[in-house]
């Protein structure tokens, strides 16, 4: 296996071959190969896909899947919709959750405890309970079938507020108190002193909101029926009905929908995992 040759070449680190490679190497392949196959299949011709025995590597590169995808669906429009939803969701989360988290962590005001517990309690309400009334509510408000239905549920979350509150509680109070003594009001202290210190927490929040809102299926699925306002995820599921066996097109759609996040993840991997760890610790 590849591991036996790779480990000794890293001589300068003087790492002996470890039996853990025998577990990690096949495991990594199981996790990554389906994604590699997704990319490779998106460049295949349908003749290649239907070949028996099935091939992993295309005999020749073909853009037929992408051509069909761009010609026969509004994928670019869906991509744009998704970017808009994710951007608004992230901005909403960063502003609303950091403000609310700071309020609950640092300010004393009547109703604080009640408000906080009402907010935390919402975590227990499952989404399937909310599907029907939220759909009805959006219809009555006249925003069903618009992008708003996809981003309004993502403007703030109990998870985000809780995350930010935990972070603000961990900051030393003295900094803000000094600022307050110097004549800053609560908002001034928050904006000038606290927010600059909160960058790691804000980054984590942004990562989670990006993942959640980009990949969300349920809200846009139940509330958007007009094809122009589909997000990528909803658009992808519509291919399943009519193009169930057009695998080059399905995989091309998958590539468009997942690659932005995958590339972002691989480039910013260390930072990404640090964010995950950050929340793990905070729970």
């Amino acid at each position: 296996m590849a591991t036996t040759t790779v480990a000794p070449t890293r001589r300068r680190r003087r790492l002996p071959f470890s039996p853990w490679h025998l577990l990690l190497m096949p495991l990594s392949l199981i996790f990554v190969l389906p994604l590699v196959q997704m990319v490779l299949t998106s460049f295949m011709t349908s003749a290649d896909i239907n070949r028996f025995p099935p091939r992993i590597i295309p005999t020749k590169l073909s853009l037929a899947g992408y051509e069909a995808l761009f010609a026969e669906s509004q994928i670019l429009r869906w991509l744009l919709n998704t970017v808009v939803v994710a951007t608004i969701s992230i901005v909403g989360h960063l502003v609303l959750c950091s403000l609310a988290g700071y309020g609950f962590a640092r300010l004393r005001f009547p109703g604080r405890t009640l408000g906080f517990f009402a907010m935390v309690a919402t975590v227990m309400v499952p989404i399937q309970l909310l599907m029907i009334p939220t759909f009805l509510m959006f219809s009555r408000l006249g925003i069903a079938n618009t992008l708003a239905t996809a981003f309004v549920p993502w403007l703030a979350s109990a998870f985000g507020i809780f995350l930010m509150r935990q972070f603000f509680l961990s900051l030393p109070r003295e900094l803000e108190e000094a600022a307050r003594l110097d004549g800053c009001n609560a908002f001034g202290a928050f904006r000038r002193i606290v927010l600059p210190l909160a960058k790691p927490a804000l980054a984590t929040l942004a990562v989670f909101t990006l993942l959640g809102s980009w990949n969300d299926l349920v809200w846009p699925l139940i509330a958007i029926s007009d094809e122009r306002w589909y997000t990528l995820q909803v658009g992808l599921t519509t291919f399943q009905g009519t193009r169930r066996t057009q695998f080059e097109l399905l995989m091309a759609g998958n590539v468009v929908a997942t690659m932005p996040l995958l590339i972002g993840f691989v480039l910013a991997q260390r930072w990404f995992v640090a964010s995950m760890t950050f929340t793990g610790l905070n729970r």
């Binding site: 790779v6 495991l27 389906p34 499952p126 703030a156 139940i222 995820q233 995958l262 760890t277 793990g280």
Partner: protein, 315 residues
């Protein structure tokens, strides 16, 4: 899961004694500032869940298709759940999926985390690989799985063929479909569980492990008597989290099988979706959703209570 971290440091700045009016003005000002910060986010979160949840309860006591006026049924929808074979079938699927998914995700996640915490070559590459599927959406994962597990063209059967094993129907076989969905869910979730365990492993005090080793404990004994107990809080958290996740698993079912074949992968959440958005039975759908909510709550509370008791015994 969150209770332990809820208490805020309470240092009440002792105000100067002043007249009633000034005190009132100050407290009104504090309320205004406080709610200016906390209000918008809280209102949105609470408004988008408590309000619809109450409405769902009102709907669940009616027969309503969204168009004709709702007819009040009292508790009939809830009574009807008892005699609904399709519901019990989906409950059975959901429980089976939970029993498959939760223990395996925890055990595998822990094993992967321990493997990924070893100081060996390529470790960063391994971490990337194992974590990457978590980034893929349920829709993309479902479509990809439909290809990989396709009985005719898929690479899963090709692999079985090379190993000399008989081809399988996977997602098209009512007997296998839940197991395959569980495998797909594990593929996406293991990285997440592993990252949480990785962080927890780093928090285990090194001298604890050293002390045990000095006392002559083998590696396995250290793992079983030091590492596993130290990880118990994280395990409880992850167990509760994964249980809630799998009880509410919807998007993966939707994107792989839409409940099929022959309803063999219809989970409770998917049944709610079908009731509400395909057959427009809003009232009954809401009642079933409340049933699942109650069950999830009971199970979560039971797990937390059990873990508390277990911890009391441990100390």
């Amino acid at each position: 899961m969150v209770q332990s971290t809820l208490e805020a440091p309470r240092t009440r700045p002792e105000g100067v004694r002043s007249g009633r009016q000034r005190r009132w003005r100050r407290s009104a000002g504090r309320a205004a500032t406080g709610w200016a910060f906390a209000g918008p986010g809280t209102l949105l979160v609470v408004g988008l869940s408590i309000f619809p949840a109450v409405w769902a309860f009102l709907i669940s006591r009616t027969r309503w298709n969204g168009i004709a006026p709702a007819r009040d049924l009292g508790w009939d929808n809830y009574r009807g759940m008892v005699e609904d074979p399709e519901l019990w079938e989906s409950v059975r699927h959901t429980l089976l999926l939970t029993a498959l998914f939760v223990p395996s995700s925890i055990v595998l996640g822990l094993i992967v985390a321990i493997a990924l915490s070893q100081p060996i070559a390529l470790i960063r590459f391994y971490r990337t690989c194992i974590f990457v599927p978590f980034v893929a959406s349920a829709a993309a994962t479902g479509i990809l799985a439909g290809y990989v597990f396709n009985p005719q063209f898929g690479s899963a059967n090709e692999l079985l063929r090379r190993l000399g094993l008989p081809a399988q129907q996977f997602l098209e076989d009512p007997k296998q479909v839940l197991i395959v969905i569980c495998l797909i869910a594990l593929w996406g979730q293991i990285g997440f569980v592993a990252v949480i365990y990785l962080a927890a492993l780093q928090d285990i005090p090194k001298d604890l492990v050293e002390a045990a080793t000095v006392d002559g404990a083998s590696r396995w004994q250290v793992f079983w008597h030091v590492t596993v107990p130290a990880l118990r809080p994280v395990t409880v958290f992850t167990g509760v989290w994964q249980t809630i996740t799998v009880l509410q698993l919807f998007d993966l079912v939707f994107t792989t099988t839409r409940g099929g074949p022959l309803n063999a992968s219809q989970t409770v959440v998917y049944y709610v979706y079908e009731l509400a958005f395909h057959t427009q039975r809003y009232g009954y759908g809401s009642a079933v959703a409340y049933g699942l909510f109650a069950f999830t709550m009971l199970l979560t509370v039971a797990m937390i209570l059990y873990s508390r008791r277990a911890k009391v015994e441990a100390f």
